[in-house]
């Protein structure tokens, strides 16, 4: 079986400030750098990582910098980015929840998954690009390999919903995920339907 590890990035300055990040180039806090280093140590102890794929946004790049297993070259891919929230980028979560709940992080946004924020993308579009990248990993990973994916809350929820056969609306709302929370999946990549032949081994294990 192939082991896929999905790691959410460490705490960023805007996580701490409670701002919608989208694709903003926001770096990690000191605490985030410590989280990433601690996550890297745990991953090195518990797994033997063969491949590393990561979102190319700054907060995931910085997480990789501190957490990457030695000798594994990261492949940075835009497909693993967080949702592009367009003109809502930089607003406080509370303000978006209050004034534009359809583009926030809660239930109203999950129900409005097809809505496109100005200059941004819908959750449906996010799901399409993330699942295309997920399919590519399932296709390319060897049957005994371990692949680490360093990404964001949105993409990890999308993948979990997919392997649970759950509607995205529920997966977005029901999955909690901390900074540097890890999900371990055991995937039968030889199967015609890898999503249904996937076991969720661990979910949101705090690594830091």
């Amino acid at each position: 079986m192939t082991t896929l590890l999905l790691l959410r990035h460490a705490e960023s300055e805007w996580n701490r400030a409670g701002r919608m990040q989208g694709w903003a180039p926001v770096g990690l806090t000191d605490r985030g750098r410590e989280q990433a280093a601690a996550a890297g140590e745990r991953i090195a102890e518990e797994y033997d990582v063969d491949g590393l794929v990561a979102s190319d946004l700054l907060r995931t790049e910085a997480t990789v910098e501190h957490a990457a297993p030695e000798g594994v070259e990261p492949a940075f891919q835009p497909a693993w980015r967080e949702r592009d929230v367009g003109v809502y980028q930089g607003l406080a979560y509370d303000e978006v929840e209050d004034r534009f709940p359809e583009f926030g992080l809660g239930e109203a946004a999950a129900r409005a998954a097809d809505r496109v924020p100005d200059s941004g993308e819908s959750l449906v579009k996010l799901r399409e690009r993330v699942l295309a990248a997920w399919d590519a990993i399932c296709r390319d990973a060897g049957s005994t390999e371990t692949v680490l994916v360093v990404t964001h809350g949105g993409p990890i929820r999308v993948v979990l919903g997919h392997v649970r056969g759950q509607e995205m609306e529920r997966a977005l709302v029901e999955t909690s995920l901390d900074n540097c929370g890890l999900v371990e999946l055991s995937v039968d990549t030889g199967s015609d339907t890898p999503a249904t032949d996937t076991e969720i081994v661990r979910e949101n294990v705090p690594l830091a």
């Binding site: 701002r19 694709w23 903003a24 180039p25 809502y88 980028q89 930089g90 607003l91 534009f100 200059s119």
Partner: protein, 201 residues
């Protein structure tokens, strides 16, 4: 004679925080609403606008609403008068943006920064072209026109009216929140005055 009045929107929460707004739907502070109201009073007392054109971004809309308490002209909302679209850089503080990405700083990088386009955003030159095209259209219309817009578009227009090069024009003509600039057009446009209606009391 044609008179053009350029009003920068009132203060917003992100102006207070020195946060780069771009197209973000950020509203005015109490002070910003007050600036808009005072600008409206000054305009009503000293001018008689035939038309009111406003950027369609929230902070300009709220400013226009405040102005209209005294100025009874139906507004037209036009995206051509928006601030620069900052794309992925929207929401960063001034310090984080220009400190972290000096290629966008006219002060540090000079003319090279004119064409630096943030991912999913506009370059300074993109904005200048879009705004000056809208400006030319207004000049053709004549009369007294009030334009409620943003710091970037106002600097682009004033730099062009003053015949400055693009970098100097943008750096030298930054308007404060709620300030009004009057431009008179006879054979050529000229800047008559810039006034802060809040400070004039």
């Amino acid at each position: 004679m044609t008179t053009l009045l350029l009003l920068r929107h009132g203060e917003t929460t992100w102006n207070e925080q020195n946060r780069m707004q771009g197209w973000a739907p950020v509203g005015l502070t109490e002070r910003g609403h007050e600036q808009a109201r005072r600008a409206g009073e000054l305009i009503a007392a000293e001018y008689d606008p035939d038309r009111l054109v406003s950027s369609d971004l929230l902070r300009a809309r709220e400013t226009t609403a405040g102005v209209r308490a005294a100025v009874d002209v139906e507004p037209t909302f036009d995206p051509a008068w928006r601030e620069r679209g900052l794309g992925d850089l929207q929401g960063l503080t001034v310090e984080a943006l220009f400190g972290g990405f000096p290629e966008y700083s006219l002060k540090r990088s000079g003319a090279a920064a004119l064409t630096a386009r943030p991912p999913n955003g506009e370059s300074v030159l993109d904005v200048r072209e879009r705004v000056l095209a809208a400006w030319e259209t207004l000049l053709e219309g004549g009369g007294t026109v009030l334009v409620v817009t943003h710091g970037g578009p106002i600097a682009a227009v004033l730099g062009a009216v003053r015949g400055q090069d693009a970098v100097t024009g943008l750096l030298d003509n930054w308007a404060d929140n709620g300030t009004l600039t009057e431009i008179a057009v006879e054979s050529e446009p000229r800047v008559v005055r810039t006034v802060d209606p809040g400070a004039s009391r």
